[in-house]
Symmetry: C2
Subunit: 259 residues, 2 copies
């Protein structure tokens, strides 16, 4: 059996709440075995854009990454959020190293091609340098990824953090038995969105199809779940979705996704 690797993605709601973030980082630092953290951006970038007098560019209700917004994303995701998380993990005796996809050429991507919408400097991932990341993990380091990739021609690209986490998990499954965690504000995938306790404990390929046709998995949850099954179909052992309690040993109240 291969060595185990945990890849954990945390969303904006945890990053923006100092108490929650410290609670999460404390739990994360205690996770046994090799691990990688991926963090999204949160609303801090909007706040900085606003302070700098830059209005976010929208087309058909979708956010566009122009050069100015990209610079702010690099500053906030790659700088402020990433380095603060690294410093906090160091204080918790977790030897973290902050990375974007450009660092150590970890994640290669290309600028999303223009179809109906020009998303600007948004990246679609082409590959992951799993051997380099494997060597970095072997040094006892814990990579902390922000949501930026690069095109290997000098251009940084804004990239969805959920996708970064699943592509990293797929790439690393060549060397490791990988579990992918999506840590967000809910206990897990809910059968009834109004009832926060209605966690679906296990979803497999068959029940996944049913949950979509029943309309239980819909809206924002659809791309998230698509990412999960894409990962499972490409070598990732298991995906777990839930809130911070995901990392508490006794807790079983989360959603497990398997093929």
């Amino acid at each position: 059996m291969n060595q185990q690797l945990s890849i954990v993605k945390i969303g904006g709601n945890i990053i923006e709440n100092e108490v929650e973030l410290l609670k999460f980082l404390t739990l994360f630092s205690k996770l046994e075995g090799s691990k990688i953290l991926v963090h999204g951006g949160g609303k801090k970038a909007n706040h900085i854009l606003e302070k700098m007098g830059i209005s976010p560019k929208m087309v058909n209700g979708r956010r566009i990454t122009d050069l100015e917004s990209l610079d702010v994303a690099i500053m906030v995701y790659g700088g402020l959020t990433n380095k603060k998380i690294v410093a906090q993990l160091q204080a918790l005796n977790c030897n973290a190293i902050g990375m974007s996809g450009a660092d150590a050429n970890a994640i290669q991507a290309h600028k999303r091609s223009v179809k109906e919408i020009d998303y600007g400097f948004a990246g679609d991932i082409d590959g992951v340098s799993n051997n380099t990341l494997n060597s970095i993990l072997e040094l006892g380091l814990t990579p902390v990824f922000c949501a930026l990739t690069h095109d290997q021609k000098g251009q940084l690209l804004n990239t969805n953090a959920d996708t970064i986490a699943s592509e990293l998990a797929i790439g690393m499954s060549k060397n490791f038995e990988t579990t992918l965690y999506y840590c967000f504000e809910l206990n897990g995938v809910l059968r009834d969105f109004e009832d926060k306790t209605s966690v679906i404990k296990k979803i497999d390929s068959a029940s996944y199809a049913n949950l979509i046709s029943d309309g239980i998995i819909a809206d924002g949850m659809l791309p998230k779940m698509h990412n999960c099954f894409h990962a499972l179909n490409n070598g990732v052992k298991e995906v777990r979705m839930g809130n911070l309690a995901l990392f508490e040993k006794e807790n079983t109240n989360y959603t497990r996704l398997v093929l």
Copy 2:
């Protein structure tokens, strides 16, 4: 004989000029052997502070790093400048990895103690994790350091880039035969500041003392030279000071500092 290592510090004047920066990075990427880049901040941080409506805090004409300025330093030095340099080096086939002193616990520091002036979140360096950095270099990676360190208790600290370069050079001299390069706007240390061609080609401990007593090394050059001889006195083989031409093979028009 130990393996050779080059540690290069570039200043704000190169970072702020896209043409000069690309020229420098192209030369740097071709440097043979293991290498580390250290970059200062430049005026971009001031520009962002201004855009965000924050006035730089000054006491007795000296810049103070309060929490707001520290956040901007983390965003600009640790984010924007650092990640863009990394992406550009990747395009030049140099496998760069951006780091602050918090990443991989590379540089440990403490908040400068308050005497006459409270410098705020300014860091004085305690040590360098030379073995971890050695392992990172052995992976074929090129660390790119911004001017930030940490106190191992979760606090990032603004730290002079010249000092980071010399402390890294001292730490790494345990494993390597280290040459430290300070790359700035002049051809080297000048005998006559009005005559840009009056480069002093070699300075050793004896001539260093004379140059100070003759008033040739003065003002801003004093702390720079102090850093250099501190490095030489602590295991660094040689220091070279000059402009981009430092990295052109035929050129001998720069200042070499030796014990």
